[in-house]
Amino acid sequence: MDILLAIAIMALGAVVLGAALGFASIKFKVEGDPLIEKIEAILPQTQCGQCGYPGCKPYAEAIANGEEINKCPPGGSEGVQRLADLLGREVKPLDAEEKPKQVAIIDENTCIGCTLCIQACPVDAIIGAAKQMHVIIGQQCTGCELCLPPCPVECIHMEVIAENIDSWKWKYPVVEIKAAPIKEAA
């Protein structure tokens, strides 16, 4: 009799807990993969495709599935470091050359107004219409260089963004190292 009661109690417990878990899995369902979102938040969102994926989100998905974390040149070595911290992976040197932040500039005298760069720009940072001069909105340009290859007259070039007073950063305080006075052995 006791054993039946024990079984009944255990069964009841299983049913209750199962129901609670089932309810929780529906009620607190997480949409999408939170890891992918965290990875994507670290990526620089240039959408440049230099990693070999068509945008930052696909690369984030690939990283979540085990792709290397050192394929994002705009993110730089710091980006690699942060991805490594997030994922608990080893820091690797960047798989490409690190470049300073750049902005694309259209030479207005050469531009023929073909709209090819407008179609290539992933962030809609180019204004213009067919047979009208195009211009790049500097603040929106991510420096991805995707507009360079489609241009038939090669009128787009990249320029390194110069430091100004607003973007200037205080440098890391450098500790001066001085040679210790050499004491002669007594």
């Binding site: 992933p122 200037w168 205080w170 001066e176």
Partner: protein
């Protein structure tokens, strides 16, 4: 008059070094050879230049138009010719360039037409507008546009207005002399602020090492007939910090990441009040300011200096000692060595100290932190500088923010007391600017992501729209075809009787539309007949007049074709025509 004063935690007492520059009254600095006026001299938007090279300008003429509400106009400090509008090195620790208007004075110092107004006849909105147009900014050092601070909060009643005459930083005496010599105008300026904000009390805080200034201010308050309280506060650096002075005078502690206005307190510098009065009651925009010139010089003194005067020309007035090797802008606690001696005086320049190793001996090398906690005791904001130092040093910026690095006012008390001579403030500045840069990058990335996603969405939408359009067009095409087929079916019945009775019967068609249709059909029919006739006329003639032998060969070929399942060439034509 006796009032309960409060204390703020921490603070230091560096040697004040103020007496040197107090011996002589304010002097007007002579006209410099040229004036380099930076356009961006206040917090907020960079003013747009409104003059070009070659323009003649008058003293007080607008040269930079305020860009947005939090921005203040810039004016020509004297009459002369604009030589260029170009990038020049700024009095900023970075040593970088910014846009400046360079003016060659003509020596006449001719004013624009000044329009003094009685501000009581203006609405508060107009007064604020005038202050913005006159380029009035906080002259205590932060250069925040003053009109932006003169709107009373709708939710919090304005309790106290604190006027800052503390001038706690060593060496600097420009506010002291201003209060001594021009107290009445300062008080009238405070009156403008009072009328705009309508606080219950106005408290003027002056450090007790300036008894002459306090006395002059008291006399002026009485003479003007105001009820402002002039209060002497204990001399303790940084009593002149806005939050510290508010604490001392009102006992209110401004919480982290809140503003004093949230507690019903607003704070202004005495020099700001003076320029506001000049702007309103005399119609003179801010084109000059008082600058203390002191340090390693023979004759330290306060000068009224035109904005844009090169610092090296100014320093010569006080005849610096030969071992002078640099100029510090601001005081010894918060100031910085200017990148070049010829950078211009700006609205934020309250003091120039000639630097020499004799006056400021180089610091002995930095030693490791021994965790003594002196910095935490000295911090007027009750922060823990040693914790922030470790995390800044390790570039662990998230942690520095947990320790409220953005509440640090960079007063330098911690560096001052550190027995290991660690440049703590430098570490904090480094950490702050890194955090800001990260924030900017993050914002840019978020924006790029949003735009990228919108572009993708737009492309999808365009594709869908195109597909829909195509589908619609296809449907329309299909409908048209179906209609044609139906018409053709109807037409297929029609020509038979027409052909049979060659014409007489259809004449009796009832409606005009039917008649038209029949006419069309008839023309089609006629065209087809013509085509048939033509085809028959164009039949190959080499099949006539054949020899029996050729006939036989042809028949043979025909039969072979027939057995191979091929249709003889004549048949389709015949079928169609029938």
């Amino acid at each position: 008059m006796l009032m309960n004063l409060f204390k703020f935690k921490g603070g230091v007492k560096p040697p004040t070094n103020k007496t040197q520059s107090l011996g002589l009254p304010i002097a007007i600095a002579p006209m410099p050879s040229r004036l380099v006026v930076p356009l961006h001299q206040s917090i907020g938007g960079t003013p747009r230049p409104v003059v070009e090279a070659g323009d003649k300008v008058l003293k007080g003429q607008l040269i930079g138009e305020a860009d947005g509400w939090i921005s203040a106009a810039v004016h020509a400090p004297t009459s002369g010719t604009v030589i260029e509008v170009a990038m020049h090195v700024q009095p900023h620790p970075s040593g970088l360039d910014a846009m400046c208007v360079v003016i060659e004075p003509d020596g006449k110092d001719e004013w624009i037409v000044r329009e003094p107004v009685d501000y009581t006849s203006l609405t508060p909105e107009q007064v604020r507008e005038r202050l913005q147009q006159a380029g009035v900014v906080g002259l205590g050092g932060a250069v925040f546009p003053t009109h932006g601070k003169l709107t009373a909060s709708k939710t919090v009643p304005m309790e106290e207005m604190v006027v800052n005459g503390a001038e706690c930083e060593p060496f600097i005496t420009c506010d002291d002399l201003l209060m001594r010599e021009r107290a009445e105008e300062v008080v009238r300026g405070i009156g403008i602020f009072r009328d705009l904000l309508q606080p219950k009390k106005v408290l003027i805080g002056i450090e007790d090492n300036k008894p002459e200034a306090a006395a002059a201010m008291r006399a002026a308050v009485e003479a003007v007939g105001e009820d402002f309280q002039v209060i002497q506060v204990p001399t303790l650096y940084p009593a002149g910090g806005a939050k510290q002075l508010i604490r001392v005078l009102t006992g209110k502690e401004v919480p982290a990441s809140k503003r004093s206005t949230d507690l019903g307190v607003q704070c202004f510098n005495v020099a700001t009040a003076y320029t506001a009065w000049r702007a309103i009651a005399h119609g003179e925009p801010v084109v000059s300011r008082l600058v203390t010139i002191t340090g390693n010089v023979h004759e330290p003194r306060n000068y009224e200096v035109l904005i844009g005067t090169p610092m090296d020309e100014l320093l010569k007035l006080a005849t610096p000692h030969p071992d002078t090797d640099g100029i510090v802008m601001g005081g010894p606690m918060m100031g910085f060595l200017v990148p070049r001696p010829d950078v211009p005086v700006v609205k934020a320049t309250n003091c120039l100290i000639a630097h020499s190793d004799r006056l400021f001996p180089p610091k002995a090398p930095e030693m490791p932190c021994i965790r003594c906690g002196s910095c935490a005791q000295a911090c007027p904001h009750e922060l823990q500088p040693f914790e922030m130092y470790w995390f800044s040093r390790a570039r662990n910026f998230g942690k520095t923010q947990e320790y409220h690095i953005f509440d640090c006012i960079e007063c330098g008390c911690c560096s001052f007391v550190c027995p290991s001579r660690i440049p703590l403030v430098q570490y904090f500045r480094f950490a702050k600017s890194e955090i800001w840069a990260r924030e900017r990058e993050k914002n840019a990335a978020d924006q790029a992501k949003e735009r990228f996603e919108f572009k993708q969405y737009r492309e999808e939408r365009e594709k869908a729209e195109k597909a829909e359009k195509l589908a619609k067009a296809a449907a329309a095409q299909a409908a048209k075809k179906a209609a044609e087929a139906a018409a053709a079916a109807a037409a297929g019945e029609a020509p038979a009787p027409a052909a049979e009775a060659s014409s007489p019967a259809p004449v009796a068609e009832p409606s005009a539309a039917d008649a038209e249709k029949a006419a069309k059909l008839a023309t089609i029919q006629a065209a087809m007949e013509r085509a048939k006739a033509q085809r028959e006329a164009a039949q190959p003639k080499n099949t006539e007049h054949l020899t029996p032998e050729q006939q036989r060969a042809a028949e043979e070929i025909e039969s072979r074709r027939a057995t191979a399942g091929l249709v003889p060439p004549e048949t389709p034509v015949n079928e169609k025509s029938e």
